[in-house]
Symmetry: C2
Amino acid sequence: MPYELFYWPEIQGRGEFVRLALEDAGAPYVDVARGKGAGKGVAAMTRILRSSSEAPIPFAPPFLRDGGVIVSHVANILMYLGPKLGLAPHDDEGRAFANGLQLTITDVVAEVHDTHHPISNGLYYEDQKEAAKARASAFLSERAKKFLGYFERILAENPKGPSHSVGAAPTYVDLSLFQLLEGLRYAFPRATADLDARYPLLAALASRVRARPRIAAYLASPRRIPFNESGVFRHYPELDQDPA
Amino acid sequence: MPYELFYWPEIQGRGEFVRLALEDAGAPYVDVARGKGAGKGVAAMTRILRSSSEAPIPFAPPFLRDGGVIVSHVANILMYLGPKLGLAPHDDEGRAFANGLQLTITDVVAEVHDTHHPISNGLYYEDQKEAAKARASAFLSERAKKFLGYFERILAENPKGPSHSVGAAPTYVDLSLFQLLEGLRYAFPRATADLDARYPLLAALASRVRARPRIAAYLASPRRIPFNESGVFRHYPELDQDPA
């Protein structure tokens, strides 16, 4: 039985971190809300979220259904899927480290989201643009450097070498770091212009992920939704700035 | 060998969710940065964060050291500790559900933090007060209700009864929900005035946690740092409002 991924059908968003792991592993999965009769897929997702009988109700998409098991939150889904897909470290210690890294990626992604929605998700971007400019500037000047510098160090100090974030083999964390860099480059082309020079290990990792056969095939397929201004990573030129 | 918790010594903050689990279990632990010669404790924490040899370097406190293992991020630490402390479900499915709930708590806590720091952690509250008012109002009018309503539903729909969030026994998630309610009541006494009436199951759960013998002893001890305006939950009357 294929995995069922429940996520918004028109954006990469947070669901993309899960899609990349499923795609890289060549795992059978259904992107439920994007399936035939997409309206029905979204309705199926909403039905679970509003259910009064499915005990492990998720707070929000993305969530994964694997037979009778429902798992929500990106990092939790990836921790659940990782070992099954051959994309997790084999030892508990490595898995805890991978999960810690994934949760740090979760934090950056939330901060990226808040660069365009610093006040409320219930307001349009246009109605919080001034605050967005201030938040985006703080993110690009301080936070992005802190996060990316951290991940670069993680690669540099990996006892198994700088080709992977955890251990000696690719994990879902590597795939997520690729997606993070893709998103940042899309949203902030000016601020990331020096990314390759400043974070060479991270940039090299992202290039290797992009070249993995199943990832390359996925990126070239219609399954890969283009970045757009409804997702987490949005390109608003007025929020971008020169490298700090 | 006692667990070593590394967190800022002057606030409850995110570390408090870990402290509560350790305290409830009566587990031996050292709150390193609060130990004798507290300056030295903070220095020890910083040394690990800046280390170029400790492979699983955390991005930020809190983190836990258990012998040779370092685990970072609250939800990750609690998932690691939960089974050892007898505060986690026994089955994998329950553990994935507990972790999903804890990650939802992580998200609320981050949103609470951003009510007073919506633009940048690098700026004083006073320098982002107007944005803070807008963000706090959106949080209290929309988001808090959504989150608390969700947790109330989780209790109501627990097949094992509404006394616990997961399964038939207390878990670290229950302790964290107590802390979340404590924090919200401290930060927003006006907005939470009707909390007991609106979320009776959640309020009852929090009362039961508060009465657990080791928790009661902890709360009455000097180990429990009072809430203050340096932590995540801050009481700024101008950010509070009547119940929505």
